[in-house]
């Protein structure tokens, strides 16, 4: 074991530093590289799933553009963490006020998870982009470009990132394994890949967590870590609901949401996936999926997402009652 073993967070330690180091997304990289080499980039929008290289590419661009002084000319903002567009605007303003250092006539602002901004915030952002266009370039990332306003999309060059293929992820894993002195069996790699759903950041995190137990990775070891990191099962919430127990169902749901910091949207997503595994007939699955969709819609329209989730629980209870006039008891 080298003395550097686990001395850093691997997702950072092994983040590609040059265009050539990146895996997958060949077309995108080729085009972005030539844009960067011309020393004048347009606004960029990177759309695609998590862990496919969006942030990495943004970082490589600024390092190529600014060399050693990249930190002075680069501002990273995360839209889902900044509490409002006003914060974003103020930070952009402060950053854009001073001229870029060095040869490049602009600075770069990386706005991560831009789809977390509301429509109104995006409108405001559009103005900001226009106002500072002579001194700043925006690189934005998002999961779904459909959530980004058209006027913003039309001001940027859009690149669509694909999920990384298994062989691409294997390349990175092999590199890390060699450097850290790990032995990873083929089965163990499969287990890692399965659990990551093609998210390279997650694969590396799982790898590091597993390697912290032993440098010889086996599928069992990987699965131990995976199950440790697995969020609580939303199924238990549904089980309570189907058995008619509203109070326990909602208590459990709140518990899970609070302890694991997951949003109402995440819960809906999990429920929607879980419905097909429930021991109920197909017609009911269809109805409940429709109810789940309705709940997601109301979640977006309403004010209190937990109330909307409770309404979904109620829909499951009705399903459990057979949807007809079930047990009608009065107040206690």
């Amino acid at each position: 074991m080298s003395e550097h073993f686990n001395s850093e967070v691997w997702t950072e330690k092994y983040r590609p530093k040059k265009f050539e180091d990146m895996v997958g997304q060949e077309e995108i990289i080729k085009r972005v590289k030539s844009l960067t080499n011309s020393m004048n980039i347009p606004h960029l929008l990177f759309a695609g799933p998590a862990g496919t290289g969006k942030s990495t590419l943004a970082l490589i661009i600024v390092k190529q553009l600014f060399g050693e002084s990249w930190r002075e000319n680069y501002l990273e903002l995360n839209a889902s963490d900044e509490r409002g567009i006003d914060v974003v605007r103020q930070k952009v303003k402060d950053f854009a006020r001073t001229k870029a250092l060095g040869d490049v006539p602009f600075k770069v602002i990386f706005l991560d998870e831009a789809d977390a901004l509301t429509r109104e915030a995006q409108q405001a952002l559009r103005r900001t982009m226009e106002n500072y266009t002579s001194t700043c370039r925006f690189v934005m990332s998002c999961n779904y470009s459909s959530k980004i306003l058209d006027p913003i999309q039309s001001r940027a060059v859009v690149f669509r990132f694909q999920l990384l293929e298994k062989k691409d992820i294997k390349k990175r894993i092999d590199l890390i394994a060699e450097s850290e002195g790990l032995s990873i069996s083929a089965d163990a790699f499969d287990a890692l890949y399965e659990a990551s759903e093609g998210d390279c950041r997650r694969v590396i995190n799982l790898l590091q967590a597993t390697a912290s137990i032993s440098p010889n990775l086996t599928p069992d070891l990987v699965n131990t870590i995976v199950s440790k990191a697995k969020p609580s099962d939303i199924k238990i919430v549904l089980d309570y609901a189907l058995s008619g127990d509203f109070v326990n169902s909602r208590t459990k749901l709140l518990d899970i949401m609070l302890k694991e910091s997951i949003s109402g949207q995440d819960v809906i997503k999990a429920i929607q996936k879980e419905v097909w595994n429930l021991p109920i007939d197909n017609a009911l699955k269809v109805r409940l999926t429709e109810k789940t969709g309705e709940a997601e819609f109301r979640l977006v329209e309403g004010a209190d997402e937990f109330i909307q989730l409770e309404a979904l629980i109620a829909a499951f209870i009705m399903a459990g009652l057979g949807g007809d006039k079930g047990d009608l008891k009065g107040g206690e």
């Binding site: 889902s80 963490d81 799982l206 967590a209 329209e301 109330i307 209870i317 009065g330 107040g331």
Partner: protein, 397 residues
Amino acid sequence: MDNVPWCEKYRAQCFEDVKGQELAVDKVKVFLKMFPKKKAVALHGPPGVGKTSLAYAIASEMDAEILELNASDLRNKAKIGEIVGNASRQKSLFKKNKIILVDEVDGIASVKDRGGLGELLGLLEKSAFPVIITANDIWNKKFSMLRRKAELVQMKEIDHKVVSAILNDVCEKENVVVSNEVLTSIAIKARGDIRAALNDLQVLSKMDSPELVSEVGDRNKEQSIFTALQHVFQTSKIDEDMLRVYDEVNMPIDDVFLWIEENIPLAYKGEELCKAIEALSLADVFRGRIRRQRHWRFMVYEYFLLGAGVAGVKDYDRSGWVQYKKPSRILKIWLQNQRAAKKKTICQKYAKHCHISTKTAMKDFLLLKVILQRNEIRNTLKLSDDEVAYLDKPISN
């Protein structure tokens, strides 16, 4: 999770256990000695002072079986006649003593349940066993006859020192550590209502932060929402009163939502519960639209759904006195945030280091915990001692 409310779990088992009501206990003992000179004893007083508990204590002291009637059982003459008539005439099969407990007679509406009240009076004449009646307001006009037939035993609000002592006792049994200051504060705020005090204590015990007592609201202010809830949850008729049911409520609409949400399961079951939640959900959609679009006219629908919508799911009136609960969700969220404050600061540091959002880091926290075992990484992220301690706690968050 322990779901039994402490006020049930620690109900008095014998006269000894009925704390702070010595005078009432003595009067009851006299009544039992004199029985059957008077057939019934009416325990009356505000909620949560131990009326039902005292009734159960009497039963266990006499080694008697309790035959309990709720106000909702007293809906009609036939039913009460059937249940109570048989019970009081026949001797118990096992020659066990019997006590008839008619709980919460306030719930008997004077008009609609006149038969029920009349039958109850008749029962007092015939009964071969002591009848215990509990009431909040025995001086109500409709009880004038009852007052003559029954021995009246007043139960006063319990002194806060006694409440405090009871809370202390429960804390010991539950193995919960709560400072005396906090206990006293709960006791005073409960205004003599031991049930409310135990409920508050139970909520508080699930949190670590004693400064939270201020969260345990002043019960006086809650009176207006109680009245509104009672109307919505118990009345089936949608009339002018129902449309204006929240007019007198002295709290923001968002709080009303929480009160309704908390108490729907207390008021409704089964299909009614589902429909009531549905009405609440639709009201919330209008609330969201008002917020986003500033379209204030939607308030009409918001209030309508919260009132008539939630009330209209039942087709007959309910009676009985229900102890509605304070909303607990916001408190739980606040608490979790307090507890997870360290988790958040750790994730912020990690997120900055790794170019991801804090939210993403929070979601991955279980995995991060494993990765963050290494001291080198902790140093890289410049974690504070507190944060390190949080990571090392065996069962955190």
